[in-house]
């Protein structure tokens, strides 16, 4: 089944935030933000700006009736700066005017002076100075201290990964207007409707029931609208509530890039120990997460780094520590993978370093250490239905990995101007929010008298086609045509207390809630049919839009059944509630069973490097992916392809650059490059591993949003091999992204 929005997408009829028809008299906002990364506001005068014709009002923290606080996990982030600023781009004031143009004009008349403080952008420097956002955490298995003496080989190294700009093509935005009874309705481009609702209530000192959040769809999010959409929704709500007028902000790209947080850069140290037969006996890593100026989602992201720090390997003695370091950058945030990519990059670097020193292919080490059934993760969960070995075996055979490695070697012997490299990237990614209480969802189903169905869930559509999957779930339970089903916008008055659509779990959680609701309704409809046919309910089945009795098709078709049920005063509305069973996690011990299941897979990446110019192309990414029993192969494959290219972007051309004063230099699309159609791999092949899929996945179809992003890490190691093939003097290092600049410098390193 195709994405249900496809037709409205290709005709430009899909409505995004800035396309919502605005009410008469709608005002626009522009944000006055800090131009320094750290300092005290010594002077602030906006009287001139207020006098411009068309400026309605300028808001500061003093105008907030409730709490000037939008920190979700930890309350350490103000909506507007009060006395101090902690990053460039931190909002100080909000100008509301008759047009965005006037609001922007007013910004230029605001006078501000700062007493500047020392700026820290490096997480290691922050850690040395004791600047942590919250205490560090360590996950441990076995005992690394004892294990080193048993190791034949021990290697150490340093790993750096850059951040990543989400670059959803639709920027952040929100539109708020007053409705009856002193309430507000807010359209927000957010992944987390309830979070936005809760923060607006906090800012305005209102009960949550007076704040209605409505989300139709997002023009991309990738984690960037999980927490970071909140501030802009709070701002328009503040203005709309106080002025009692409709107010909209749709950020321009430069403001979006400089004000919002990104994927966390990490700087890490590792130590890896192997036995003579290349079993990894011990792994120790210390990682410094660059959290930015406030906690945002960093505590949860840190946690996922720890969960995935050994990727798809069993390492009997593991000790990994993450420090979340406070720096003068915008608060870094969720981005597809959520800390796992950073963790996986470190263990893969450690393996690459060991392989290089031992002069062998890293694949030899990788395959010897894959996770096996009943192995224990460093967080206590016992691995079940482990598919990494199967993925690897299929990959090795179908894609002829040995031959590929041989061909690359031959190519590199024959050619000087061009070199090739090939790598294997395994993944193992846990599904569930690691914070157990978030693993719940609800769905509201109305069957209308005419047999059509309206569904509301907490899931937010952002291109991943979760709404399409919801249609499939309902259609499969009722056995009716998908045309009968409509998915409503995500609205907090219909589905309350939602978890953000994140952690790849949107379809699992909301789909299961929906399934529960549909099954209950189906039971009532079967009873109705039994009543009509004067038989036992157990004889009834609904198939292909008809009632069947003892496998015999009856005259009763769907509309007739619904009409009868309605006239018989049967309830045709149901609310389903789902909470993922089994999972728990004990933070005091750092042990538990946090994941419903894991997603596995392998990617073989081949690259060709132009050794004259330092430019490169990704030739192939050959994947074996564990979809479970995919409920929608075309959509799930689309998720894999999109994630792979985004992961490759992170490892290659996507380079965030801040100057020493904490100013974002890569602040536009002309300076921050994401993959275009020519930089996508020439060929992406995907083989679906055949399994029946886990029970806890919706219709046994595994979550697919995040895991394949990490296949992109393979591009780094393939490029590294190609560089080494050209320049044997290259001392391998681990500094991503591997831009054409870094590649050329390494090709000619002496």
């Amino acid at each position: 089944m195709k994405n249900i929005d496809s037709i409205s997408h290709v005709t430009g009829k899909s409505v995004y935030l800035d396309d919502i028809p605005v009410q008469k008299g709608t005002l626009n906002g522009a944000i006055f933000a800090s131009s320094v990364a750290h300092g005290k506001i010594s002077h602030l005068d906006y009287s001139k700006a207020e006098k411009i014709s068309g400026v309605e009002r300028i808001f500061s923290y003093k105008d907030i009736p409730g709490k000037n606080q939008i920190g979700g996990i930890i309350e350490d982030e103000t909506l507007f700066a009060e006395n101090e600023v902690h990053y460039q781009g931190q909002p100080i004031l909000l100008v509301i005017a008759k047009s965005e143009y006037i609001a922007r004009k007013a910004l230029s008349l605001i006078e501000v002076k700062f007493d500047e403080y020392e700026v820290i952008t490096d997480p290691r420097v922050a850690q040395e100075k004791g600047q942590l956002l919250f205490p560090p955490r360590t996950f441990k298995l076995g005992n690394t201290d004892d294990a080193w003496s048993k190791c034949e080989y021990i290697f150490e190294g340093k790993v750096e990964n850059g951040g990543q700009e989400h670059l959803y093509i639709e920027t952040q935005g929100s539109y708020a207007y007053p409705i009856d009874n002193g309430s507000l309705r807010i359209h927000s481009s957010t992944q987390g409707a309830t979070l936005v609702q809760k923060m607006i209530a906090r800012i305005l000192d209102l009960p949550m029931h007076r704040i209605e959040i409505d989300v139709a769809r997002l023009g991309g999010a990738f984690g960037g609208k999980e927490d970071q959409a909140t501030a802009f929704a709070c701002m328009v709500s503040l203005a709309a509530f106080i002025l009692q007028k409709p107010v909209k902000i749709a950020l321009n790209r430069h403001d979006d890039m400089r004000m919002t947080g990104k994927r966390h850069p990490y700087s890490s140290d590792f130590r890896i120990g192997l036995s003579k037969d290349l079993k990894i006996l011990a792994f120790k890593a210390t990682m410094y997460q660059n959290g930015g100026a406030a906690s945002d989602l960093s505590p949860a992201i840190m946690e996922r780094t720890l969960f995935h720090s050994t990727n798809a390997y069993f390492i009997p003695n593991t000790e990994v520590t993450v420090y979340s370091c406070k720096t003068n950058l915008p608060p870094n945030t969720a981005f597809r993978g959520f800390g796992a990519p950073q963790g996986m990059f470190v263990i893969e670097s450690a393996i690459a370093k060991a392989a290089c020193q031992l002069n062998i292919s890293p694949i030899i080490i990788q395959e010897k250490n894959f996770l096996k059934e009943k192995d224990e993760f460093q967080f206590g969960q016992i691995a079940e239905n482990v598919n990494i070995g199967k993925c690897y075996e299929i990959s090795k055979k179908t894609y002829n990995l040995d031959l590929l490695e041989k061909q690359v070697k031959e190519f590199n012997t024959k050619n000087i101007d061009f070199k090739k490299g090939v790598s294997l990237m395994p993944i193992c990614f846990g599904i569930s929010f690691t914070k157990t209480p978030m693993n719940q969802a609800r769905a509201l189903v109305h069957i209308y008298q005419d047999g059509s169905i309206g569904i509301s869930t907490g899931a937010i559509e952002m291109g991943q086609a979760v709404n399409t999957k919801m249609v499939q779930v309902a259609a499969s339970v009722f056995s009716i045509n998908t045309e009968r089903i409509k998915i409503e916008s995500t609205n907090t008055t219909r589905v309350a207390n939602t978890s953000p659509t994140a952690a790849s779990s949107g379809a699992d959680l909301n789909g299961n809630a929906l399934r529960i609701a549909c099954i209950t309704l189906l039971g009532r409809l079967i009873d109705t049919a039994a009543k009509i046919l004067n038989c036992n309910s157990s004889e009834i089945e609904i198939k292909d839009e008809h009632v069947f009795r003892n496998n015999q098709k009856t005259e009763i078709y769907w509309e007739k059944l619904i009409e009868t049920a309605f006239l018989d005063r049967v309830c045709l509305t149901e609310n389903g509630h789902y909470a993922t069973p089994i999972i728990y996690f004990d933070k005091t011990k750092e042990k538990g069973h946090p994941f419903a299941y894991h997603v596995y897979g392998t990617a073989i990446t081949s690259v060709t490097l132009d050794c004259i110019r330092g430019t490169y192309e990704v030739d192939d990414v050959k994947i074996v992916h564990d979809f479970g029993n995919s409920m929608n192969t075309i959509i799930d494959r689309g998720q894999v392809e999109g994630a792979v290219v985004q992961g490759i972007g992170w490892m290659t051309m996507e380079e965030l650059s801040y100057d020493k004063a904490g100013k974002l230099m890569s602040n536009s699309l002309s300076t921050y490059k994401v993959p275009d159609i020519y930089s996508a791999p020439k060929n992406i092949e995907i083989i679906a591993l055949e399994t029946k899929g886990p029970e806890l996945a919706i219709l046994r179809s595994k979550a697919v949003g995040e895991p394949p992003l990490m296949y992109g890490i393979g591009a780094f190691f393939a490029l590294q091999k190609a560089i080494k093939a050209f320049n044997p003097k290259y001392k391998i290092d681990f500094e991503a992204p591997l831009t054409p600049e870094k590649v050329l410098m390494r090709l000619y390193q002496c």
Partner: protein
């Protein structure tokens, strides 16, 4: 009064000429299908088509509406996604749906418009061309493979395309609504706008730089619109010189038979310059006047020993392009003067030319370093050599000493190694967002090597040069 046809509707507006066409489309004409992504021509979400009357037919091109000054729309047919929608999907829209080439959908109208723009050209596009038509469109969701499949499907439909009358064929084959057939007549009724050059007002060409750098200033300024001036668009040969009008776009250059005859690889070189819609808009004078030290066209034409022609309404000045750039963003141009054209002597047969550019992303990116070389040989000797380079000095630089050194030399690895030593003395790169100074030095060395490896693969090898 700015007058144009927007989809099926005649527009007459007194809005400022410097208003962005995108804002007009979305907020005045209430057509929200055209999206705002970046407002700097780097994402393609706002792609629309611009049709211009040429005799009895209308020639359509894709443009980014964010950087198009409203005034440039005068006399044109502007087509948004709403303007191609019919009761059924077009084969292009259908291919996007069938191949799941849309996920969040925000970039999708831009892709559809770019594909449609190519369909309207007087060619039978192959898959490569179809993909090239979306070189200016960024999709953050799909990873492009599904879009490539859609491109493949679209291409197969062009088998029996009538390349002489593409619009009629597209209407017959349900790519376009039938109102398109009457557009030529309707455009013919729109009168040309005022054409005198007022030297006191700001000149703007395609808008691809000024609309990025100073949109509010352009919005507020009285403008001197150069883009639609036919007399400034011609590419001709006169007295063994090729003369290119100031308002000729990069696409005009690529499609010029005259230029492609002189430099057969021109199309390949120009693919490295921005993207299809930006090339359809950006003018040669705009690229030069921008004074960027990495302006691709400046680098390209300096190596060809081009002259710049300035005019102040009374007097003309003609001098070498390489002398036009005085210091960072400082040009040898007086108040009231404007660029009228660029010319270069057509080299004798047997000359060699190469253009190299490296950026973080190969396509639709600004160069870290770019360079062009022009060579003429007599036997084994280089009797003429001129090399230009960008990104390594405050101005687009003619590498005078390097060029002089190589002139008269035999083509040997040794001579090129020595030329690099001289070149390194001649340049002064700085560290910036496009790369560190050290990198730019190394990169320019490599690109100098690349020129010779490419031009003389049998004589020159990387191995010899770097050993």
């Amino acid at each position: 009064m700015i007058t144009f046809i927007l989809n099926n509707q005649l527009i007459q507006t007194d809005k400022p000429a410097g208003k962005s066409l995108l804002d007009f489309i979305r907020y005045k004409a209430d057509l929200p299908g055209t999206k705002i992504g970046c407002r700097e021509g780097d994402c393609g979400a706002c792609t629309v088509l611009e049709g211009q009357l040429n005799g009895k037919e209308v020639i359509y091109k894709s443009i980014v509406s964010c950087l198009t000054p409203l005034g440039n729309a005068h006399g044109k047919h502007i087509v948004t996604i709403e303007g191609i929608n019919m009761k059924h999907l077009s084969p292009i829209q259908n291919a996007m749906v069938e191949n799941a080439a849309t996920q969040c959908g925000f970039c999708t109208p831009g892709f559809v418009m770019s594909f449609t723009g190519l369909a309207m050209a007087k060619i039978k596009p192959d898959k490569k061309m179809t993909i090239a038509s979306v070189s200016g469109n960024i999709c953050r969701c799909t990873g492009y493979k599904s879009i490539e499949k859609a491109a493949d499907n679209i291409t197969t439909v062009y088998k029996d395309k009538n390349v002489e009358r593409p619009v009629e064929w597209l209407v017959q084959n349900k790519f376009l609504p039938d109102y398109f057939l009457n557009i030529p007549n309707r455009l013919a009724e729109i009168k040309d706008s005022e054409k005198s050059i007022n030297p006191a007002t700001r000149i703007i060409g395609g808008g691809t730089d000024l609309m990025v750098q100073k949109p509010d200033e352009i919005y507020e300024s009285e403008l001197n619109l150069f883009f639609n001036r036919a007399e400034l668009k011609s590419i001709k040969i006169d007295n063994n010189c090729c003369i290119i009008g100031a308002a000729a776009t990069a696409s005009d250059l690529m499609q010029s038979k005259i230029l492609c005859d002189i430099i057969p690889e021109l199309k390949d070189f120009f693919k490295l310059i921005s993207s299809e819609p930006i090339r359809n808009m950006g003018t040669i004078a705009g690229n030069i006047m921008n004074a960027s030290p990495i302006a691709d066209l400046s680098i390209f034409f300096i190596a060809l020993n081009s002259n710049i022609h300035l005019n102040d309404g009374k007097n003309k000045r003609i001098f070498p392009l390489k002398d036009f750039f005085l210091a960072y963003k400082k040009l040898n141009i007086k108040k009231g003067e404007y660029v009228e054209s660029l010319s270069f002597p057509i080299p004798d047969r047997g000359f060699l030319f190469n253009f190299e550019k490296v950026s973080k992303r190969t396509y639709l990116d600004i160069a870290s370093v770019n360079t062009a070389i022009y060579l003429r040989l007599s036997g084994e000797n280089m009797i003429e050599c001129s090399i230009s380079a960008g990104g390594i000095s405050p101005i687009p630089l003619f590498l005078k000493q390097t060029s002089e050194y190589l002139t008269g030399k035999q083509i040997t690895n040794g001579a090129i190694i020595k030329a690099n030593t001289i070149m390194q003395e001649e340049i002064a790169p700085i560290s910036d967002i496009r790369g560190n100074a050290e990198y730019k030095r190394l990169l320019l060395r490599q690109l100098l090597f690349a020129h010779f490896i490419k031009l003389f693969p049998k004589k020159i090898s990387l191995k010899e040069l770097v050993s």
